[in-house]
């Protein structure tokens, strides 16, 4: 169990940031989930429970998700999920169990920038920003590539868009970490496909890099997307080999795209599904 050198319950974000910057080795506590996994002592633990970060606020053009909103809150946030094709619900609802998701926080998941993260994978395909007390607001895609800095993540912001989105992942056991995950979202006239658990951090593919121009991706376009996804870097660990992951990521991305795409004719949808079938290793 992680040990606390000292414990500070910050009254507000500014105080938290100050402690974080001036107290050597200080860390912000998320949901506490990983506490059990470490035996080290953190010199100073900062708790943001009193900072009002546990709500999802909806404005005219965005959802502001507080860093202390739990994964369970995210899962059952009706409006947010309705607008975003339920990808957040689908991303989190097989993570361990309700009692765990009632503790794990969105901020902890995003700030940790874990490769296996289902939450990051889903958010990354949406129009998502993060807001940091020090560095301010920036796109999630930019944030996940930044080095860890002494800053406090306060909000994850999902802009309202005309989302058509779907989330796909593969778990070896039902509530296990994903062996690979993918989220496809069509918004603002273009496709965004994120692929995670490679096992490295999720990557976002869009525009030319993805190779899909139409709202209703053709078989050729999906094949391009699969190729693009598979050209990312993959490696092996307990949850899958490099070879399997590379194969899987293409399958999941294609399935997510087809599930999300607003095909206007059954023929077009069937053609797209046929590409997915072409990915089957079992004849």
């Amino acid at each position: 169990m992680l040990k606390f050198g000292s414990y500070v319950r910050a009254a507000n974000i500014d105080d938290a940031l100050e402690v974080l910057r001036f107290k050597k080795g200080a860390m912000v506590l998320g949901g506490g989930i990983w506490m059990r996994l470490s035996n080290r002592t953190v010199p100073c633990v900062i708790d943001l429970s009193d900072c009002g970060l546990n709500t999802i606020e909806e404005t005219d053009d965005e959802f502001r998700i507080g860093a202390y909103v739990t994964l369970r809150d995210l899962e059952v946030a009706g409006k947010l999920n309705a607008v975003t094709g339920n990808v957040l619900r689908d991303a989190v609802h097989d993570i361990v169990g309700v009692q765990m998701r009632q503790l794990a926080t969105v901020g902890g998941s995003v700030f940790g920038r874990f490769g296996f993260s289902d939450v990051i994978c889903a958010l990354l395909a949406l129009d998502t920003d993060v807001e940091l007390a020090g560095a301010g607001r920036m796109p999630l895609a930019q944030f996940i590539d930044m080095p860890y800095e002494l800053d406090v993540l306060t909000h994850v912001i999902v802009r309202k868009r005309d989302y058509r989105a779907a989330y796909q992942c593969m778990r070896k056991a039902a509530t296990d970490f994903a062996s690979a995950n993918a989220c496809a979202a069509y918004w603002d006239g273009s496709w965004h496909v994120s692929v995670g658990a490679r096992p490295a951090k999720a990557r976002l593919l869009a525009g030319d890099a993805l190779g899909i121009a139409s709202a209703e991706p053709t078989a050729e376009e999906i094949a391009c997307a699969i190729e693009a996804v598979r050209s990312l870097k993959y490696s092996s660990n307990l949850w899958g080999s490099e070879r399997y992951r590379r194969h899987l990521a293409g399958v999941l991305a294609a399935r997510a795209i087809v599930e999300a795409a607003p095909y206007s004719s059954p023929e077009a949808a069937d053609a797209a599904r046929a590409v997915c079938s072409g990915e089957e290793a079992i004849a």
Partner: protein
């Protein structure tokens, strides 16, 4: 010690046997009462923590505990220098144990990553943990043997110590070649039989060192009682064996040790091997203070014991019509660093798989059990049979596929039937068996006749697979169960047992036997946990023994007690004992001649496998309904019991009986798995699982059903998700529930099971066992279903999505 033999007619008109009796401790458990080991530790107990080896094989050059000892709250730090230099085994087996004596409490040589290096005793857990980090060990790291397939004859020898000891030459120990045990059993002319075959399936199968993963990790505490003896309270299946282990480890007489077993949070065989009892007993002996040790999940997964990993080579020869002619099985068993249960588990891989196909003209079963520098293996539900049946049943499935035969038909064609002597089962006779019925009923349940083995469902493909399983009921000639049955003031009964309820409900099941015998409600039977000072000896709850063996002991004790009650009542009433009947509530005296004097009471008990079971069958002499005739005298049980505890003619009655069987009657089980495999991801989903079990007479329908459902659930975990992995330096990588995936409720379908009860003449009311047989079918059935779905025969468990998709 022997067994009463009865006929199936004994099963008529049973009241308590077969009922869905609620477990006696159910409501206390469900209320969350403090009943488990860690809930009842004494105050001011020392907390123990173990320093585990980071190396797979090393000699300790020096160890410095001085800084650790200075941590406030640390009472002592012990190393190999402090412990007796007398080797023992942690295997929970009857003396003389089959397992080699190859352990010390702490050793100068560490033999796997996780082996114990030092014990810290401290006032608080925090102090103990801080001290662990300050113990400085200088290791001479040696080249380990991590690949068990290269252990035999390897120049690196794992056990070279002088005081290594083997109890029995029969295990064929050759430790200087890393061989714990080896053996061979042959039947018929094997090569001639293979020459007759049209087809031979020749494949190698591999099962892993699965974790039992009971929810309650290993834990125990020790204290010194008023007489200066060490009392160990432990979550164990084998309290009497733990008494011996502790005595051996501490090099003290067994009379100085008492072991208490409270409620247990699951065992599955894990707790048939001793674990940390020796550490707390040692520290308490040294310090005179109570001490407790609670293993973490990580320690439980990586520093205790597991199933034996096995590599099994099968050659299965048959005629083109599917007749199985010859079977050759070679099992290589990975013992890991210490020898617990090595010589015995491996035997079941052949002796509990080959007899299913007893008609084969010839069979051979050979094995080696080898040491390696991995975690020691021990006992896990199925105990080698699980591994053997995965191999043999998979080979039979492959044979059927290669011949284009229905895998159920090929079994029905070759299956063992009652009355046969089993060549690979020590020539024991099979008295009870409905294996064929089990299979036929399972086929009906799943709709076998109407379903193809492979069905294309678009993005998924569905497959069907089948397997059979057998096990034993107690270890023949070695296990013993005994009970004391006492009639108490006011006329209730105390049933003292040494069998260890580990959550399975044997306390309740044995009370049901007593209630049936005594014609009373189970509430009138008092049972309690095990205390080696007061409970009668029992080898323990393992090897599927308790229902069959201790159940028989209950019936024998009940017969004796009833006879004695009748005799005493006859005395008090002044009548002949032959005219007194006990109907459960009253002692009733009748006119001479009214009661039938049973003719067959003097029949001998079953004491050897060549006994004529038909000839020695008799009726149980238990409490019985009174005839229509009017009794001439009557005395209530309460009245009698009160007289018996009074002075004068009183005599507080206790009946004692023990049971041990010359045979180990096999229960049987069929399992059919229906799986969906995602064509593109390889994800295997068990959509349906049906099973029919022949456990002889079902004693408690609920508890038997839950045994089956639970065993199948564990079997599905073994088949699909439980994937033990080691690093290339020998460190277990799957050391938490984050990486070692036991099935969640989302991973398991509703398991559908039924019973096809045979009547086992040597068992109590015809009962056999159920605890272990139920884990054996999922792996071969699912592997075959996946093979039918995908064309990929996965022969190394678990069947991960990756293997299902790409093949091995």
């Amino acid at each position: 010690m022997s067994m009463i033999v009865t006929r199936e007619s004994e099963r008529e008109n049973l009241t308590h046997i077969g009922a869905k009796t609620v477990k006696k401790d159910a409501y206390a458990l469900l209320a969350g009462k403090p009943l488990y080991t860690n809930d009842i530790v004494p105050a001011d107990v020392l907390t123990l923590k173990i320093l585990h080896s980071p190396h797979a094989f090393a000699r300790i050059r020096s160890i410095d505990t001085s800084r650790a000892e200075k941590i406030p709250g640390v009472v002592a730090v012990y190393t190999y220098k402090d412990v007796p230099n007398k080797r023992f085994t942690l295997a929970g087996q009857s003396y003389p144990e089959a397992s080699p004596y190859d352990r010390l409490i702490l050793d100068e040589v560490v033999r796997y990553v996780g082996d114990e290096v030092a014990i810290v005793a401290a006032e608080t857990e925090d102090a103990a943990e801080r001290a662990l980090k300050l113990i400085k060990v200088d290791y001479e790291v040696m080249e380990p043997v991590l690949d068990f397939t290269r252990a035999k004859g390897n120049p690196v020898v794992i056990h070279t110590e002088d005081n290594y000891h083997v109890n029995g030459a029969w295990i064929n120990n050759d430790r200087m070649n890393n061989v714990v045990a080896s053996g061979l059993s042959e039947h018929g002319d094997l090569e001639a039989a293979f020459d007759e075959c049209d087809i031979v399936v020749d494949e190698t199968y591999h099962t892993l060192a699965d974790a039992q993963a009971m929810m309650e990790t290993f834990r125990s505490f020790a204290e010194i009682d008023a007489y200066g003896r060490i009392t160990v309270t432990s979550s164990t299946q084998v309290p009497f064996h733990v008494r011996r282990m502790v005595a051996n480890a501490l090099d003290i007489p067994q009379s100085r040790v008492r072991v208490v077993k409270p409620r247990i949070g699951g065992g599955f065989g894990a707790k048939q091997t001793g674990c940390n009892e020796i550490f707390c007993a040692f520290v308490t002996a040294k310090t005179g203070r109570p001490s407790k040790i609670i293993y973490t999940r990580e320690e439980t997964l990586a520093s205790s014991n597991s199933r034996h990993e096995m590599q099994l080579h099968v050659r299965l020869g048959a005629k083109n019509d599917g007749t199985i002619v010859a079977i050759d099985l070679y099992t290589l068993s990975n013992q890991g660093a210490y020898g617990e249960h090595g010589p015995t588990t491996v035997g079941l891989s052949g002796h509990k798989s080959l007899p299913l196909y007893n008609h084969a003209k010839a069979s051979r079963f050979a094995f080696d059990v080898v040491y390696s520098n991995t975690m020691p293996a021990g006992a896990y539900r199925g105990y080698g049979a699980t591994q053997g049946l995965f191999a043999v049943e998979s080979a039979v499935n492959e044979l059927a596929d290669r011949l284009g035969m229905d895998p159920c038909e090929i079994r029905l064609k070759n299956l063992v039937t009652p009355g046969e002597r089993l060549a690979q089962y020590d020539d024991n006779e099979l008295y009870s068996c409905t294996a064929a019925d089990c299979l036929r009923r399972a086929m009906e349940m799943i709709g076998w006749a109407d379903k193809p083995l492979r069905q294309d469902l678009g993005d998924r493909v569905r497959g069907l697979g089948v397997a059979l399983s057998m096990q034993g009921s107690a270890i023949a000639k070695i296990d013993i169960g005994s009970v004391d049955l006492r009639v108490e003031e006011s006329g209730f009964y105390t049933l003292s047992i040494g069998a260890t309820d580990m959550g399975t409900g044997c306390d309740t099941i044995l009370a049901q036997f007593a209630a049936e015998a005594l014609r009373c409600d189970t509430d009138r039977i008092v049972v309690h946990g095990v205390d080696t000072d007061v409970s009668p000896f029992d080898t323990g709850s393992y090897a599927s023994a308790s229902t069959y063996l201790t159940g028989m002991a209950v019936l024998k004790a009940a017969e004796q007690l009833i006879a004695e009650l009748r005799r005493r009542a006859a005395g008090f009433m002044g009548v002949d004992v032959n005219d007194v009947l006990f109907d459960g509530d009253d002692m009733l005296a009748f006119e001479p001649g009214v009661l039938d004097v049973p003719a067959d009471v003097d029949k001998p008990e079953f004491s050897g496998i060549y006994d004529d079971v038909e000839a020695i069958a008799r009726s149980y002499q238990l409490a019985q309904a009174s005839p229509d005739a009017e009794p001439v005298a009557k005395m209530s049980l309460t009245e009698l019991a009160n007289k018996l505890v009074a002075g004068g003619d009183g005599d507080c009655l206790t009946a004692h009986a023990a049971a041990s069987s010359p045979t180990s009657p096999p229960p049987f089980m069929s399992g059919i798995a229906e799986v969906d495999v995602d064509k593109a991801t390889g994800k295997v989903t068990v959509v349906d699982y049906v099973s029919v079990v022949d456990c002889g007479t079902v004693v408690n329908e609920n508890l038997a059903r839950v045994q089956a459902e639970g065993g199948i659930g564990q079997g599905i975990g073994m088949a699909l998700t439980e994937d033990v992995q080691y690093s290339d330096r020998g460190r277990m990588r799957t050391r938490s529930f984050m990486t070692y995936k036991v099935p969640t409720r989302l991973d398991l379908p509703n398991i559908r099971m039924e019973f096809a009860p045979s009547y086992e003449p040597t068992g109590p009311f015809g009962a056999k066992s159920i605890g272990e047989v139920v884990i054996n079918t999922p792996s071969p059935a699912i592997a075959s279903a996946v093979a039918h779905a995908t064309g990929h025969y996965v022969r190394t468990l678990p069947i991960t999505p990756e293997k299902a998709l790409f093949g091995e």
